[in-house]
Every structure is written in structure tokens, then in C-alpha cells.
Symmetry: C2
Subunit: 525 residues, 2 copies
């Protein structure tokens, strides 16, 4: 497949006039062709106009049509074959196995959303039948369903060039909800984006949907993205990236004449609590497993364990010793982009120069110019709680161990944390009391609480919460991974006394759409 | 019952030092005793501290305990007896029948939320059981439930001194979700607020709940309310009132170090579309019924029909003639406060001086100094679409008829509207085609679409959507009336591989809480 370096607007491929965006192979520093000339407001305008035209028709497609569309996208992505993996490897520095797995996850989540769409529970259909005889006032006939919010702007993420990019979780859930999607491609992987964008274009055509259901734009800096979020036809935003990028989008969205929701997944250091009995029984084993999680994807996972909290003593020393050995044995891995590598180096430097944290171990340095050297640092609970810079996310394979004097101080540290995607308990049976004490704190602070696992590895399923209080995300009421992500792009509408011929199918008498319905507060059977 | 004019903080009644807030009887201009000395940051601090202390215990109360608490509040409100109605009449100028009905609605919605809490569906429990044999990777055990967001700040509304004030819809739904509530009393009805606040205090004590579950604060101007929304322990805000008040709270909430959701129900003119066949068949009847809805509560309902849209011609003339007669026959009603009356007079003046709208009819002037004189104005679609001031809400019994040249122009007017709480179709069988053309536009613009009714009258039930796109509300994904309002104050948490002894009851094996659960994407039966 030949890459053309064009904006994909509806069914067209359009050459823009801006400066060319080039991917860089982070392993070699080589510039990759073609250049993608940056779009401007004209392309935003065009894509938004098409999306708006498509919206009313697309949101009322039958459940089966929409589900098949999602499945067709998955098929079209698979049909690209190895070209996709090869290009994604070159643009991200990620190894083949990881990207093949990520492609499977991407197609898997499109198929999961197809199931969700077919099931129809997301419509949240409710009926309160008329009660003409009720005293003192009759009740009218009231019915409710959820409808799509409108066209959605999705910002591709650097760290998942497939699963959280052009056809990633945000796109899949927004399309499932009935929202047209305009993706701003991440500048780090424009070619991967084009390949996937073309696959969605083909799926739109094969499914005979209005072309505006999908567009893919390229722009440099923040200009094009900001213009997209400002466009009045855009009704929601999905974003995965930095805290500064996410908060900038939140502000733009709030300053619009009509503010809109922004679902930004931003910053999380994913605390791991080593409870005393578990630490005593298996400190060394935990140290090794911890570094395995820390090094996954060169630490560039949103759920990377950036913080370890425990009571100081021999057992923690054993953990730190084992972790230090594992860190020293860690090979350097290429990071996703030169920019991410620079930010990582700055984060590590700030720890190195901190008067409150000390270096415990460093991994191997790498040959590649963007190699991530694994790092482990240590601080005291007092210093951690008094120096808020120690809570800043260092995006990459570096973590900080916080030594506490006792369990009370562990709880204080937990209470001092910002919002997180995850919180982990390493615990044995005799730690149950300590775990019970911490659980309410962790529930308040994180979207996912786990025992005896590691936070990296996010299952795409019905129960997953990849979310959490700010700054982990901009909206703790939602998840960006898993089937519940569809609810981000929906709003309820109530229909009062509408004639059957005007009612949407799912609300009609006799339930012709066959969806789960709540009737008078009870599940229809 | 003697009113004391104090802040109710937890179980205490505290006298503050600020300037005294006095209610005014809007019918007579008489100042009502006692004065309520305004609180300051100290009272906000105290109430937030108690709410925070109460939060973890309150959010984990059993479903039955919490349901009984809501029912006890209803009983305690009823036990106040006629004192509550008499004081509310004096403070609001509303007639006895209306306030007795509103008390019934207030207690009814507390009891509805008790049912909702018992049912447990709001927990949205989901289970994805472990799949240890799955290839290529086993699946861990994942469970999800919803938990309360945290303490909620509620701003009492002027126009529903019972049903949307101290123990109104926002308070009931937040308490149902497991959130402690701090109410800022509306300055228009401080005595009514004290009576209801004392009832909630008694219910907290009888239910043996932590005292911080509820506090009631009085403050003048915006200072106390802003301090409340800025407090880091407050995690969500419920507000019903003006667009300027709501947007100010939205901005404050966004500027916090941790932004929080604001549910502000603000501004809506509730368009009514008279479709041609209905207008032809029953223009006169519609004109009379319309003015009946317009005059309800002196036009001080959020769902007041402030806009009528139809194709011009004889049939519309007949409607306008009938409506004009009914307007002329309308007695003046006392408005809620001198401030609301002033704003109404300004809104009417702006229509009187407009070059694009003309007066069609005015009702009787009143004896009382805050009387609302009903008004009907008329404009053309072209003028309406070119003069955005004509879309501004005039809070009170004044409405604007928009004459269109044809159905296409009706649709253009619909497309030009801001977000609305409701949109109404007056239609006969032969209007189905026109209704089908308009429905997609109205769904995008409003939270509730109705046929052949009037927007005033909001049923408290499972299907109700009292919401809609901005500026009708700050968050179109939610409703502030009806049982779905509980979802505003919840967020999902995922539990991974937690031992049974650590899991919340609703998530444990065997479903000991007996709640509806989604297992592997299917409803458990």
C-alpha cells in the first residue's frame, strides 16, 4: 500500500498546504516518508460540515447495520496485513509482538462494541405508561431512550498507535453510540494513521453510510486540534495524552458558547501498596514482578506503576534489593518519540537533583538515541507529602518507593495522592485488616482497585474502568476502556404522548427492537 | 415552631455574624422575621469538614438504611404540618393549593428515591468472571459498581421553595447516591428552608447517621456559595436558577485545582410548534390551552412555553386571536421576589422597545407591587433568526409567537434555537410528515419532546428528562427530575481480583445483596 500523505475527509483524500509532518523512527532517528502536509481551518470546516450532515442519519441506523459497520472496520484493518505492523514498528519503536497484540485488541474492541450495539442495553429504554385514572392528576405516557451527542473529535494517543488512535477505543465507542468521528492523527505515527483511516473509509463505503461518519485530519502544533474543539458542530472530545494537553482542551471546550464534555485521560502514577504480611512473605518475588510491570512498553503505559508505598524495615529492604537488581538488569528500550524521551530525561533529572529523593538503581543505557534507562528512586513519606513535585508523573520506566513509619502513615500517603487510574494492594490473608482500612481511601482516589496483580494490562470488557478522579481523567464518571465507554457519547431524551408512528422503534409498543426495557421501574421480562 | 435564624451545621444550630437576610412577602412588601445572619468561610469550612468525615460511612450504609432515611425525611417534612405551608406562602406569594401540591411532590420524590435505592439497579453491578484458561492470556476476575462522588453542594431554587430547594430533587438524588449534602438556602425563603432543614436534621438523628450528612447554610450575594464550590471536599454541585448564576458556578468549578461537575438547570424558552392540520382543526382551543400553561405559577416554571412557532395564515390568526383574549382576561399574579419581578419588567420592556417584535395582548395589571402582567408578542421568523435577543428567556408569563412563511422556515427556526428543556408539537394525524421532519431537530435541541400537551407539568418518574443541551442545563447527559437524577452523583469503580472478604457486598459471589447484575455482558436471572 502506498502512503499518500493526505487528509482523509469523508470519502476524499485531500492534499493540504501546511508544513509537512514527518514521522521519525525513534530507534534510528531516521525521517520517514511521506510528509503529511498540515491542514488548516478549511479542512476542519469541511470535515465538520460532512459530519454534521451525516449525524441525523447515522445516529438512527439500525442496531444491526451499525454493529456490522464496526465489524467491517475490524476486517478492513486486518486486511491491511503486515504493512500495518511494519509501519507502526518504524513509527513507534515498539516491537512486533506488542503491535500484533495491539492490533488484536483494536479489532477485538471494535467487535465488542458491535455486540454492545446489537444488545441495545446502551439505549437505556424506559417506559412509564399513561395512568389516565390516576388521582389527583392523570399520568401522561412517558418513554425514554439515549441518543448520540453529536460529532466527536478524537485525538490519537502516542503510546497506543492502534488501540488508542485512529480506530481505537474512543473512536469505537463514539461510532457505537451513533456519533460521527473526526480524528486528529498523532504526529508520531501519521503513516499508521493513514493506513487505519483508509480502512475506516472503506468500511464506511461498504456499509453504505454517509461519508461524513469519519474523517482523519493532520495538523502540527495545537492549532488544528483547537479549531476542531471550537467548531460548534463538535459535541464531545476524546483525548489520551499529557496533563497540559488535556487541560488545554478542557479549557477550550468550556470557553465555547456551548460548552461540551471533554474525556481526557491524562496523568496517573498508579500507586502500589505493599502490605506488611505480603511484603514479609514474598518481598523478593514482588520486587522482581514489580520491575517486570515497570518495564512494560518502556514504562509508557498510562497504568505504569510509578509509586510504591510500604512500611520501612527489613521486608521492604528485601523488596528494594530485589527490585534494584532487576532494574540494573533492565535493558534499555526505545521510547516512542524524541519528545517523550526528552520529557523522560527531564523527569529523571528532576528526581536526581531532588533533595528529598535518592537514586537506588538505574538500568542499562541504550544504543538507540531515544533509549529509556530504567530507574528506581526512594523517599520518605514525610518528604513525599511535603514535596508535591514528587507526585508528578515521569512518563517512562522510573518509579519511586515511599517508606512509611507505620500503617497510619501509609494511609496518610494514600490520602495525599491525586486522582489515579489504578491503585494496587499486594496483600496476604493476614493483611485483610490493613486492606480494609485502605480500601475506602483508594476507592475515592482511583478508577480501578486491584489485589495481587500489577496495573499494566487493561482488560477490554464490561467491568473495566479506565478512568478515575482528576488528573487521571477529566471526568471520573466515565471509562475510556471497555464497553461502558459508550455512555460517554449519549444523552437521554424523554418522549411524552408521541403517536406510535412518530416514536423511535425501540420505544414502540410491543418492543419490536427486542431491547431490554425498564417499565414502571421494573425490568421487562 | 419558632424560627431561629441560624445556620444548621450537622446537628448544631449556629448563629453567624454576617448581615441579616430577611425574606420579603412579595404580595405586601412586608419584611419577614427572623433575620438570617449570613455565614462566612468559617461555616463553609465547618460544614465541609463534617461532610467529609461523614462521607465514607454514609456512602456504605446498607440500601435499606439509606432508603428508610429518605422516607424519614418525608415523614418529618409532613409532620411540620401547616406551619410549613403558611410560611412558604408568605415567602413566595404562591397560593396554598400549589404549595400543598409541591409538598406532596417533594415527599413523593423522596419516597421514589427510597424505592430506587432499595432496588439497587443504580449500583450498575457488573461481573466479568476470571477465565484462567483463556489463550493467549488468562482473564483476571473483574467486578464493577458505582460509588458516590463525595459531598455535594446544592443551591436552593426560588421557584420551587419545597420541591427544588432544601429537600428537593437535587438533595434527594444526592443523598440517595450516598453523598452528604450541604445546601445553600435561597435568600427568598429562609424560613421555609429552616423548617425543612430542621426536618432533615431530625431524620439524620433518628436514622443514627453521621451528623455531617446534611448542613444548611445562609449567605448573602455569591460569596458563600462560591466558597462552598471552591472547597476541595465538595465533589459536585446542583443548581437551579439563572443563566448568569449557573455559568458563574461552572467557571468556579472548572478553575479549581480539581475541577468538579456542575449540574446547573438554567434557561429554556420551551418552543411549541403548532403544526398546520392541528392549527386548522383547533386553533382557538389551542390558544386558550396555551395561555393556561403560560400563566401557571405566574409563568415562573422552567418549562414555561415562551415561544410559539407556526406557519402564518388564517389558522394561526385564529390561534393568536383566542390567545389574545385569554391573555387580556388573565389576572395578575404575584411573582416570587421583587428581584424576579424587576427582571421580568426589564424583559418585557426589551420586547416593547424591540423593532422586531410587536405587542399583541397584555393581561390585567395587579394590585400587588410584584404582580406579573401576562404578555403576548409576535414576530416574523426572519426577524427572530436575525435578532438573538428575542431568544433570551423572559422569566414570567410572557410568550412570543413566531410567524413562518412555510414548514421549511419552521424547521429553520427550530435549527436556530439554543438548547431547551422541552419542545412541544401540537399535531393531528395528517401532521405526521411534518412532525417526522422536525423530530430529529427537536431531539438534538431538547431533553423532552412531547405531542399535544403543554410543557408545564413535569412528572417525577423513571423516564423523565428534565435536562437538555446548554444553556437549558450545563450537562445534557443528565436529568435533574426523576429517578435517573441519581446517576449525576455516581462514578464507576472496578475491583480486580479482590478477596471476597474485601469486596463490597453487592459484588460478592452469590449476590447476597440481591441486586440486578450484568455478568459477562448478560443480565443475571
Amino acid at each position: 500500500m502506498t502512503l499518500e500523505g493526505k487528509q482523509l475527509i469523508g470519502q476524499q483524500a485531500v492534499l493540504s498546504n501546511g508544513n509537512a509532518i514527518h514521522a521519525v523512527d525513534p530507534a534510528t532517528g531516521e525521517t520517514l516518508e511521506p510528509g503529511y502536509k498540515a491542514g488548516s481551518r478549511a479542512e476542519v470546516e469541511h470535515a465538520c460540515e460532512l459530519a454534521w450532515i451525516a449525524f441525523d442519519a447515522y445516529r438512527e441506523t439500525g442496531l444491526e447495520v451499525r454493529a456490522c459497520f464496526l465489524e467491517t472496520i475490524a476486517e478492513e484493518i486486518e486486511s491491511i496485513g503486515d504493512d500495518l505492523i511494519v509501519r507502526a514498528m518504524a513509527e513507534s519503536g515498539l516491537p512486533r509482538g506488542r503491535l500484533e497484540g495491539e492490533r488484536g485488541r483494536t479489532c477485538g474492541q471494535l467487535r465488542l462494541f458491535a455486540q454492545v450495539v446489537r444488545n441495545g442495553e446502551w439505549l437505556d429504554v424506559r417506559l412509564d405508561p399513561a395512568l389516565p385514572e390516576r388521582q389527583p392528576m392523570p399520568r401522561v405516557d412517558l418513554r425514554q431512550r439515549h441518543i448520540a451527542l453529536g460529532p466527536v473529535a478524537v485525538f490519537g494517543a502516542s503510546n497506543f498507535p492502534l488501540a488508542f488512535s485512529v480506530a481505537g477505543g474512543d473512536t469505537a465507542s463514539a461510532l457505537a453510540a451513533g456519533c460521527p468521528v473526526i480524528v486528529k492523527a498523532h504526529a508520531a505515527h501519521p503513516g499508521t494513521s493513514e493506513l487505519v483511516g483508509r480502512a475506516i473509509q472503506r468500511a464506511v463505503a461498504k456499509s453504505e453510510l454517509p461519508e461524513g461518519v469519519f474523517s482523519l485530519l493532520y495538523g502540527s502544533g495545537r492549532e488544528l486540534g483547537q479549531a476542531l474543539v471550537r467548531d460548534p458542530r463538535i459535541k464531545a472530545v476524546g483525548f489520551t495524552g499529557s496533563r497540559s494537553g488535556g487541560t488545554a482542551l478542557m479549557q477550550t471546550a468550556q470557553e465555547r458558547p456551548e460548552p461540551i464534555p471533554v474525556y481526557a485521560e491524562m496523568s496517573s502514577i498508579n500507586p502500589v501498596f505493599l502490605l506488611p504480611e505480603a511484603l514479609k512473605a514474598r518481598g523478593k518475588e514482588l520486587g522482581n514482578a514489580f520491575v517486570g510491570s515497570l518495564n512494560m512498553g518502556a514504562g509508557q503505559f498510562c497504568t505504569n506503576p510509578g509509586l510504591v508505598i510500604a512500611v520501612k524495615g527489613e521486608a521492604l529492604d528485601a523488596f528494594v534489593a530485589a527490585a534494584s537488581e532487576a532494574v540494573k538488569d533492565s535493558a534499555a528500550q526505545t521510547m516512542l518519540t524524541p519528545g517523550i524521551h526528552d520529557a523522560y530525561m527531564q523527569g529523571v533529572d528532576s528526581l536526581l537533583q531532588s533533595s528529598t529523593a535518592r537514586e537506588v538503581a538505574r538500568g542499562a543505557t541504550g544504543e538507540s538515541q531515544n533509549a529509556c534507562q530504567t530507574g528506581l528512586f526512594l523517599t520518605s513519606a514525610k518528604d513525599f507529602m511535603s514535596d508535591e513535585t514528587l507526585q508528578a508523573e515521569v512518563f517512562g520506566a522510573t518509579s519511586l518507593v515511599v517508606e512509611c513509619t507505620d500503617l497510619d502513615e501509609v494511609k496518610h500517603v494514600a490520602e495525599s495522592l491525586e486522582g489515579q487510574l489504578t491503585a494496587t494492594l499486594q496483600m496476604d490473608e493476614d493483611d485483610l485488616g490493613a486492606a480494609r482500612m485502605l480500601l475506602p481511601v483508594l476507592e475515592r482516589r482511583a478508577g480501578r482497585v486491584m489485589a495481587n496483580g500489577w496495573p499494566t494490562g487493561v482488560e477490554v470488557c464490561h467491568t473495566m474502568v479506565h478512568g478515575g478522579p482528576y488528573p487521571a481523567t477529566s471526568d471520573s464518571r466515565t471509562t475510556s476502556v471497555g464497553s461502558a465507554a459508550i455512555y460517554r457519547f449519549l444523552r437521554p431524551v424523554c418522549y411524552q404522548d408521541l403517536p406510535q408512528g412518530l416514536l423511535p422503534e425501540a420505544l414502540r409498543d410491543g418492543n419490536p427492537a427486542g431491547v431490554n426495557r425498564l417499565v414502571d421501574g421494573h425490568r421487562e421480562t
